[in-house]
């Protein structure tokens, strides 16, 4: 790590310092305003939310970085993952742990296949037309939402019980915390590290990172970049689908799930810096924790979560004013 920081540009070092100071501020203000017990619960919930947002935003960021496509259908992948996972979890007659595993499998496989069909069949012909891609993915998001509503109905699906393995609570510093939320945090961290290792330690990852910088040059080196595009698009879809299914035992499945997470993911990608994986990971923590703290604060002071939505948008505006390319995005040369 010291070597990592030594190689950073002053701007990146400043970004890290700002992030550390801001996260410390959030912890401090939670402790002061909520007291130890509620602060712990709020920050724990914020961490869980951070990981869910990360699953959606990392795919959005990678797809944007490599393909130059701002994929407005990413939220719909969360939705499809949640509903397919919900249906599978409810219908498979195995132990709850195996049913949940089957639901995860069904969600990620079906959303992955959906992503592959969309990328190869619809987005690929429009690589040279970015405006059309925006319209296309926006339209796809609306179509998928409509399809889900027709198949599963408009009524919200209530949360299902978490699998046996992750039920109950555990105690940390005298506070009772949900094991299932810990599972989501752990899953998010494992995927964060795994995708990080993929990008930094494998040839495929090096090709993806190179492609984010200049996909045309990667082709000129003899690499079939279209296959890499498909892989990244499918990976992004799979991670969003995974976020959808793991949400089911926590908050059920509702039709506004996709848009909720799409907005959060876009904010994360903008704050972190378009196309920067590192920035997306860091910004996920910032947005998730900010939202949780703002929600708790507004519940306490206004008896309604009025600050929750606006807080992250204000945060995004402030970051863009201070650093227009985001915390870890590359400045235009």
């Amino acid at each position: 790590m010291p070597g990592y920081f030594a190689r950073l540009t002053p701007r990146y070092r400043r970004s890290w310092a700002l992030v550390a100071a801001y996260l410390a501020f959030l912890v401090l203000i939670s402790l002061i305003d909520f007291g130890g017990n509620t602060a712990g619960q709020t920050l724990f919930r914020g961490l869980m939310l951070s990981m869910l947002i990360f699953l959606v935003a990392s795919g959005l960021s990678l797809i944007f970085g490599l393909l130059d496509v701002l994929n407005f259908a990413q939220g719909a992948f969360v939705l499809v993952g949640a509903y397919i996972g919900y249906a599978t979890y409810q219908s498979v007659e195995l132990s709850s742990t195996y049913s949940f595993l089957a639901a995860v499998g069904a969600a990620v496989v079906s959303v992955g296949l959906l992503g592959a069909v969309i990328e190869t069949g619809l987005i690929r012909p429009l690589y040279a037309r970015p405006v059309f891609q925006i319209v296309l993915t926006f339209g796809l998001g609306a179509i998928l939402l409509d399809l889900v509503q027709r198949i599963y109905g408009p009524q919200p699906k209530q949360p299902l019980a978490p699998p046996e393995l992750f039920r109950g609570t555990f105690y940390l510093f005298g506070q009772s915390l949900s094991i299932y939320r810990l599972f989501i945090i752990g899953l998010g961290l494992v995927i964060m590290v795994a995708v990080g290792l993929l990008l930094n330690r494998t040839r495929l990852g090096i090709i993806i990172r190179a492609g984010v910088q200049d996909a045309e040059m990667v082709q000129a080196l003899g690499i079939n970049v279209r296959r890499v595009f498909t892989f990244v698009f499918v990976l992004g879809a799979v991670l969003a689908g995974l976020a959808g299914i793991v949400l089911v035992p926590y908050q059920g499945a509702t039709l506004d799930l996709g848009n909720q997470f799409l907005i959060l993911a876009i904010v994360v990608v903008v704050i972190g810096g378009m196309g920067s994986y590192e920035g997306t990971a860091v910004a996920s923590f910032i947005v998730g924790l900010t939202r949780a703290v703002a929600e708790q604060m507004s519940l306490k002071h206004f008896d309604a979560p009025v600050l929750a939505e606006t807080s992250i948008l204000i945060l995004m505006i402030v970051v863009l004013l201070v650093q227009p390319s985001g915390l870890f995005g590359r400045e235009e040369s």
Partner: protein, 247 residues
């Protein structure tokens, strides 16, 4: 060679390694190349000359398939390549060093080289050649590409094209933006690497090009207007003045 339609073969009867025949390339609605012909003899350095905007860079990009021609033929080692995609053209054995020396700034020097491997072990096999030509790259191996100076980035861009077994290198403006001492080093490196591979070069600096290349092709307004041996061009001051604006 006296006309645009038929660039001659300078390879003493041997078929050229690269034969570009009357290509027409459009970028958007602009008809950029309007009949470019280039023949590159095997084992030589050939330079594309011409004023700014003549179509030299577009010619290299057309050969690589990055701006594919709408009409005309491109044959490499006797096989037609103009309908292939860029990665397929590269896999046939053509390396490309673009004008803006595009290196991957976030990847280390080592990763910039590794990514060019077409077969596992390419870099290890070529290490002596690459680090012999560009010793600085060995020292800078673990540094991100974005930390290199302009000259070092140019070296890295050329070294990257040397990693796989390329029979032809397309090098666009290697001296652009470099200090005179670095231009000399770069030219020396290109001269030495030409012992291993054929080179088609775009070079705006006629003094540099004339010392380096054995053959030339002049492009004007998107079409080939002259081609021949560099020695003949150097002795024809009127031709140089007419097409290159150099006294």
């Amino acid at each position: 060679m006296t006309g645009p339609a038929a660039a001659p073969n300078h390879g003493a009867g041997a078929p050229p390694l690269l034969d570009v025949e009357q290509i027409h390339t459009f970028i958007g609605e602009f008809h950029i190349l309007q009949g470019v012909s280039v023949q590159v003899p095997r084992g030589s350095i050939t330079v594309l000359l011409g004023r700014n905007g003549a179509g030299k860079t577009t010619t290299l990009r057309s050969i690589m398939g990055l701006n594919p021609p709408r009409a005309g033929q491109i044959r490499f080692a006797g096989q037609s390549i103009h309908r292939l995609r860029p990665h397929q053209i590269a896999q046939r054995g053509i390396g490309y060093v673009p004008e803006k020396r595009i290196i991957f700034r976030d990847l280390t020097v080592g990763q910039n080289l590794q990514i060019a491997e077409r077969q596992k072990g390419d870099l290890a096999r070529k290490a002596d050649l690459i680090f012999g030509l560009f010793p600085d790259l060995h020292r800078l191996y673990d540094l991100p590409g974005g930390h290199l100076s302009g000259g070092q980035q140019q070296m890295l861009a050329i070294a990257r094209a040397l990693v796989p077994d390329n029979a032809l290198l397309l090098i666009d403006e290697p001296s652009e933006g470099l200090a005179p001492v670095l231009i000399e080093q770069m030219m020396d490196a290109i001269r030495r690497l030409s012992a291993h591979t054929t080179v088609l070069l775009v070079e705006q600096n006629f003094q540099v090009a004339s010392r380096l290349a054995e053959h030339y092709v002049i492009i004007e307004e998107g079409a080939t207007v002259r081609a021949g041996r560099m020695a003949d061009l150097v002795s024809d001051k009127q031709l140089i003045k007419t097409y290159l604006g150099v006294a």
